[in-house]
Amino acid sequence: MKFFNSSLLIIIIIFFELFFFSCKKPSYPKDQLEQSAKKILKKERNLDCNLKLIAETIYLEIEIPKEELISEEKTYLTKAIKKIESASLTVVRLSLSTDAKIDFIVSIAKVKDFDFCVRIIQRLQDIKDYLYLKISRGNYEKRVILEMLPYSKLEYKNISFEEFLCRLLVSRYNMMIRINPFLSNMLNNITLEFNQLLEKEIVLKSNHYKLSFTESVKQTIKQILIESYIDIFKKYKYFLPTKIKIYDINDYEILSLSVF
């Protein structure tokens, strides 16, 4: 029996040594990221894609036919959403199992024949925290940036953490407007766009003229932005500039607020 115990132990140790030794390498090496992405999307969704790695930001771009978005049939829309989700999931899988250093994941779904794209920006650490059950699903969803913008305005650049937080702030305001039709009308359908981050202030741009910004609209926007800012600060414990300035479509300063 002693012989059996010791031989079993030796077999287990050998297997574990072989296993751990062979499991060190990543599934998607850095130099094969693009091929891997194309292979996965082609195999699973029959989709073509483009992948770019800019410093610590990875971009994955797919194309969606316009018919899937303009049809009244619910199934078509579902298809489009599924394609966007696949693209997002694929790029997340690649980012998690690669040896490249990646901080931000950007999934872009371009609509064919239109100057329009949907951009989803996620932070890799937030995804990991969600997978490790450190944050809830609701908390994680609040950390995803969803932007709709003209494709021509798209820039492939490395996203910094501060820029991500500012975009998140803007994205949360915009999502609120889109989800809530009452609020949207109350605020005259004013959406905001992140313009730049200066040393002491965050500069946002609106898609409306100065006249649309009545006093009550300004106060409401201020309230929404302050609440979002505080929530983001609690989540990330990071100090952004506390001053936010909003300019109108003609670059006139509409609103300047101080968060604290």
């Binding site: 287990i12 297997f15 296993f19 599934s27 998607y28 899988r93 998690l96």
Partner: protein, 545 residues
């Protein structure tokens, strides 16, 4: 090939478990390697906690299984030992030359079993080791197993006994089945049953059904040792017992079962010396320790007693923070073992005096009158329930006891009573034990050994027949003879003490002063008053007898 067959038959469960484990590990590795690296790392990181939880579950399951189920009523603990695990050779057994010689014959037969079988002979079925406790029976059995190089199954007789009838017999069957398997694989197997008298006693046949369990167990043992199946494999049974051989069932002792009976007795002087040297080598000791004196002091002691003395002396030395043990430690150890721990009682001076005169009486009579024993210590320190003690040993081993020796014993016992009476004109309850012992010896002399004081015509061992078959007149005669012996001894002791009362007084005073005296001091005291044992003994023996 045979060994492999038996091995697979006995370990099929372990082999299956190992194979399944290996397959599962391979499948797990294949599964994990097909995962993406992130998810693989995630899974691997949960392994420690999973192992911990699995281990905890297994522990809880095993705990409940062992405590509640325990594998059934007839389960036995694992008792197979391989020869290399025992590793006791004949050279490690000290003394017991005669027993070793016989054991070596058995070993030789086991080793040459093939040749013996060719001739048509049979190896011994059973060996019975008889002797007092602690003399080396188990050691000899181990040595036989090691030297023969065969598996050794060890079990105690009491392990067969259960409240339910049939369980003991079932255990015997299981034991011998295992033994036959090992014998088949290795050529022979030794089964050692310690305290075999538990199941080997004479079978009782009662209409009430008492003793059924032991009977059925013993019957099974008899069948296993010499039944229909038993001749095909070489299973040797070694039994050990402290009881006299007459206690065991005759069917067990007949040739074909326990063929050989080896008596393992207490060691003689030379063997005791060797045993002391052996145990002293295991600890740090003063080289000036006189081993021959120790051997003389430990007459009738078994090797286990000697080991105990050395162990106890090591403890005493350690308690006193010594680097090695000395003769004093060994003496103290012997006192502690023989007499017990001292406990200080607050005796009044009168009580102490009584005890001192009582012990002085014993000492003087023992010193002068006893033909075989020497007094080693006289003490009025209370130990083990006694207020005082005179400790004595035979000078050497005697295998018979003469009438003179018995009379001397009686005189020694009575001396305390007489001494108290002479000094205080009364006696105390302290004489109870002494009178009991004296009466027993006198009774034995008359009833069993025909040693009446005036060599009367009554001859015979009257304890061999039931007492109700003896006539009242015969019993009266025997009792009278017993009383005569006691009276005679009392008179002689009274006479002796009267003529040597000065010595008794001196001795009592010394005891009151020092509380404890050993042989040298006692001898010195007597010599300092112009008396010596050898000179006086001859003279007194002539006068008293």
């Amino acid at each position: 090939m045979k060994k492999l067959k038996i091995f697979i038959r006995n370990h099929w469960l372990a082999i299956t478990v190992i194979l399944v484990t290996v397959i599962l590990i391979i499948l797990a590795i294949i599964g994990l390697s097909s995962l993406e690296s992130f998810y693989r790392n995630l899974t691997l990181s949960t392994i420690p906690i999973q192992l911990l939880l699995t281990g905890l579950n297994a522990f809880i399951f095993v705990y409940f299984y062992m405590t509640i189920f325990r594998g059934g009523l007839a389960s036995m603990k694992k008792s197979r030992i391989m020869p290399e695990e025992i590793n006791v050779k004949f050279k490690d057994v000290i003394g017991l030359e005669q027993a070793k010689k016989e054991a070596m014959e058995v070993v030789q037969l086991l080793k040459d079993r093939t040749r013996v079988k060719k001739i048509g002979g049979k190896i011994i079925k059973g060996i019975l080791l008889i002797g007092p406790p602690g003399c080396g029976k188990t050691l000899i059995a181990k040595a036989i197993a090691t030297e023969a190089g065969v598996p050794f199954l060890h079990i105690a007789g009491s392990e067969f006994v259960e409240i339910f009838v049939g369980v003991g017999a079932s255990r015997v069957r299981k034991l011998f089945k295992k033994a036959r398997e090992y014998a088949y694989a290795h050529g022979a197997c030794i089964v050692f049953i310690d305290e075999i008298d538990v199941i080997g006693r004479g079978r009782t046949f009662s209409f009430m059904g008492a003793g059924e369990e032991t009977n059925s167990t013993q019957n099974q043992l008899l069948v296993e040792m010499d039944g229909l199946e038993s001749s095909q494999v070489n299973v040797v049974v070694i039994g050990a017992t402290n009881s006299p051989i007459e206690v065991l069932d005759k069917a067990l002792l007949r040739p074909g079962r326990f063929d050989r009976k080896i008596y393992i007795g207490r060691p003689n002087l030379k063997e005791r010396e060797e045993i002391f040297k052996y145990y002293l080598k295991k600890i740090k000791y003063d080289p000036q320790i006189d081993v021959s004196l120790l051997a003389k002091k430990t007459v009738y002691k078994s090797p286990a007693d000697i080991e105990n003395i050395i162990k106890e002396s090591a403890l005493i030395a350690a308690r006193e923070r010594k680097e090695f043990i000395t003769m004093k430690d060994i003496s103290e150890a012997m006192d502690r073992i023989e007499l017990g721990l001292r406990h200080d009682l607050n005796l009044s001076y009168e009580e102490k005096q009584k005890v001192a005169y009582h012990e002085a009486g014993h000492t003087v009579v023992l010193y002068y009158l006893h033909p075989t024993d020497d007094v080693f210590k006289a003490s009025i320190i209370s130990r083990g329930g006694a207020l005082g003690v005179v400790h004595h040993h035979p000078r050497e081993e005697y295998y018979t006891a003469s009438k003179e020796k018995f009379l001397a014993d009686i005189k020694t016992f009575i001396a305390g009573y007489v001494s108290e009476k002479k000094k205080f004109a009364t006696t105390s309850s302290g004489v109870e034990n002494d009178l009991q012992n004296a009466t027993k010896i006198a009774h034995m002399m008359v009833w069993q050994l025909s040693m009446s004081i005036d060599n009367s015509e009554i001859i015979g061992n009257f304890t061999a027949v039931p007492e109700e078959e003896l006539s009242e007149s015969l019993k009266e005669k025997l009792n009278n003879e017993t009383i005569k012996i006691l009276k005679h001894c009392t008179e002689k002791v009274d006479e002796f003490l009267s003529s040597n009362w000065d010595i008794v007084e001196i001795f009592a005073e010394k005891l009151l002063e020092k509380e404890e005296l050993d042989f040298d001091e006692i001898d010195q005291i007597f010599r300092s008053f112009g008396r010596s044992r050898e000179k006086d003994q001859q003279m007194l023996m002539q006068n008293l007898n």
